[in-house]
Subunit: 198 residues, 2 copies
């Protein structure tokens, strides 16, 4: 093995991620990916196999570095109220901070779920399911600690919170401005009867 590798494969995946995230699978052309990664065609096909496989890798990386990382950070707070609040606010902040208004890569892909290969579908479904489970755990703990109202179903309310997060991500791509997005967060908070914090 006289040579190992010259370019940073993980960095290339990261750059390709932004291309796919912004344009989606179909609209992202090979040329876009070559420009975004700085690779040339041969290296890209040699390193990743093709467009589909590269897309799957970028989505997995996004899921790992965005969703999983955020959920882990929030669970570590050991404060269910702050965790719920934190997730929704992070959703809004991410939407507002991105001048390209790319939204959430997972949800963008979920919107196109029909024509995705099975491995991609699995990442999306699993990611959404884990966000829902995160909300459910937050609600259960919050109820046990008497921080949240106890007359609601954690399972069902978790779905509602995920739903609001989805709406923030979709409407945050141009249809709703900051104030409206923050209103959605406040309304979601009302579902679990949190006191109005910042």
């Amino acid at each position: 093995m006289p040579w190992v590798k010259s370019f940073d494969e993980e960095q290339a995946v990261d750059q390709a991620m932004h291309v796919f995230w912004k344009k989606g699978f179909d609209s992202a052309s090979i040329t876009d990916l070559l420009q975004g990664t700085g690779l040339n065609k041969g290296s890209l096909y040699n390193a990743f196999g093709g467009k589909r496989q590269l897309f799957a890798r970028t989505l997995e990386k996004y899921d790992r570095e965005h969703r999983q990382r955020l959920l882990a950070k929030l669970e570590a707070l050991d404060d269910p109220v702050a965790a719920i609040d934190g997730f929704l606010n992070a959703t809004v902040e991410s939407s507002l901070a991105d001048p390209e208004r790319k939204g959430c890569f997972l949800i963008n892909t979920a919107h196109d779920l029909e024509n995705q290969p099975e491995d991609v579908r699995a990442v999306v479904i699993n990611g959404l399911r884990e966000i829902e489970a995160f909300f459910r755990r937050c609600i259960e703990v919050g109820q046990a600690r008497k921080l949240l109202r106890c007359d609601i179903s954690p399972q069902d309310t978790a779905k509602a919170l995920l739903g609001v997060a989805v709406a923030i991500r979709v409407l945050g791509r141009g249809a709703y401005a900051e104030e409206a997005l923050r209103t959605l967060v406040a309304e979601a908070r009302r579902l679990v009867q949190l006191p109005g914090s910042s």
Copy 2:
């Protein structure tokens, strides 16, 4: 004027609508549209000018015949509770009834809002704004008639209801099954404190 027209232009728009609705603007090819409408290339370009203009016409038709028609029907009930309930349930039913899982044409387009021409953007923004206004009116009337809790903001809660509707449409495209979608409706109902009806 020795001839008027041979094909039904409105029917062609309707068939093109389903093509764009299913595939989106970019992924719908001219060939798809020709097959869907039964027209040939010359007629299509002669009658509509091009892909973009045809897309705008199909979206306007969708907005007119789906959103406006549903809202008018529900407003005519003069029953704010049934109207809110009816909208959310209709959203679920539409999602479930469509084997192609196309979702809502307006919301699909809203998800791509960035690279839409101005006229298309206007239809989307206006459509969403009117759904929100519909919810707001329902809540205001419901409060005046003591059917809904009076300690909530009609304006803000209307945004939340629209948000849940958006989530139903997005997650209804494969990520969520019937039961989960109905849970979202029930949770939305909880936002305005409706009694649990079917």
